[in-house]
Symmetry: C2
Subunit: 229 residues, 2 copies
């Protein structure tokens, strides 16, 4: 049985719903808000991967803004600079998934140290977590900024191990992004894949998640590990 | 004016139509052949990027087969191992785009050295080019195999410069994949983006193509450069 002494969460998509921005998207693209939101998310990720590979790192916020520029051009939307800024700001006020606040509170109560490891900048992570009133739940808010490369580069995953001062086998890495769980698994973390609607398909890249759950509350109930600080 | 002394082409999508496999896909997924073909191509690319970032390189053929496994699971297709192998084999018999054979012949006639720089393995590149009867058109068929990482890592683009023994400013890099043209541009090649149907949108990642064309025959007519061996 795994001996889990800390839990590190992905931020975007895992604790917070990236499609919270769909409402703001709908205002800019009536009838096409979810289409814009989905394409924007896809491009945002592609730009983090491609920028990393090209050695052309820039902040997650800038990658997000660049991805929006692409989407606006591709979908032929009449979105001016002000509207684009409003959309990008919506990424700082994402809503947590429904089960998240209570599950984090219970993990706190049990004394398990929690962290976030995110592509976002230090500033963005603090804004998103703070806007949701969840800042006090976490011991470490870890950004990729120090390593200037995005997930799934192994230098990013090493930040969690370094911050907690624990061997990777004792840190549970939790992500709803299958490619992120795959990267964390190749790095050596036990992984929990949050397949929230149960309809997603895990990636076929040589690593399977240790556990698949429907929401992060299931972490508390699993017999795949022992949770103890 | 640019002084172009050699031309390096991307293979998949640029000289050859990756959606040639849609017919084979249609046989496996009746009524959904193009949907499968498009998702498969998207996942194939994602797997090359993510595998590169994770330091988990494998051959392009294996990434292609893994991407197909994902697609079959996600789309819920009843495709057995034999059908999957048939689909993967279709990637070795892609059709060249219509204007390609004559344009390559004319570039040969003018004495411009040509090359291919592709994510594919040595074996796959030879098979695709050979099946189309185009092997004699190229001085160099360059695979990512020696560097064990995929595009757009700069180590891949350096293979073209090394093979031709020319400074990068004298090598025109031609791709229909906007992310590939972006990577080549960041590396320092003059770039030609083949926007074949004219409806694609270039990526917003800090590099614009030197020239945008509708087909590779337009390379011969451009006044953006002088072509001379």
């Amino acid at each position: 049985m795994l001996d889990i002494k800390a839990i590190v969460f992905d931020l975007y998509g895992t604790l917070f719903d990236v499609h919270s921005v769909a409402t703001a998207c709908e205002a800019v693209a009536p009838g096409r808000g979810m289409e814009l939101s989905q394409l924007w998310r896809q491009k945002q990720l592609e730009y983090t991967w491609l920028r990393s590979m090209m050695g052309q790192y820039l902040s997650f916020e800038q990658a997000t803004a660049d991805a929006l520029d692409y989407c606006v051009a591709r979908l032929g939307l009449p979105a001016d600079a002000g509207q684009r800024a409003t959309l990008c700001d919506a990424y700082l006020a994402l809503q947590p998934h429904a089960e998240v606040p209570a599950a984090l509170q219970e993990l706190n109560r049990r004394g398990i140290p929690l962290g976030i490891l995110s592509n976002g900048s230090v500033r963005s992570i603090a804004a998103v977590v703070g806007n949701a009133g969840l800042a006090e739940r976490f011991r470490h808010l870890l950004s990729v900024e120090p390593v200037q490369v995005f997930k799934p580069d192994p230098r990013v995953y090493a930040l969690g191990e370094d911050a907690f001062g624990l061997g990777r086998q004792h840190i549970l890495f939790v992500s709803s992004n299958a490619w992120d769980a795959t990267g964390a698994g190749h790095f050596g973390y036990p992984t929990c894949w949050v397949n929230r609607n149960g309809a997603n398909t895990f990636e076929c890249m040589g690593s399977r998640p240790t556990l698949e759950v429907r929401g992060i509350d299931a972490i508390l109930a699993s017999d795949a590990w022992r949770l103890a600080a």
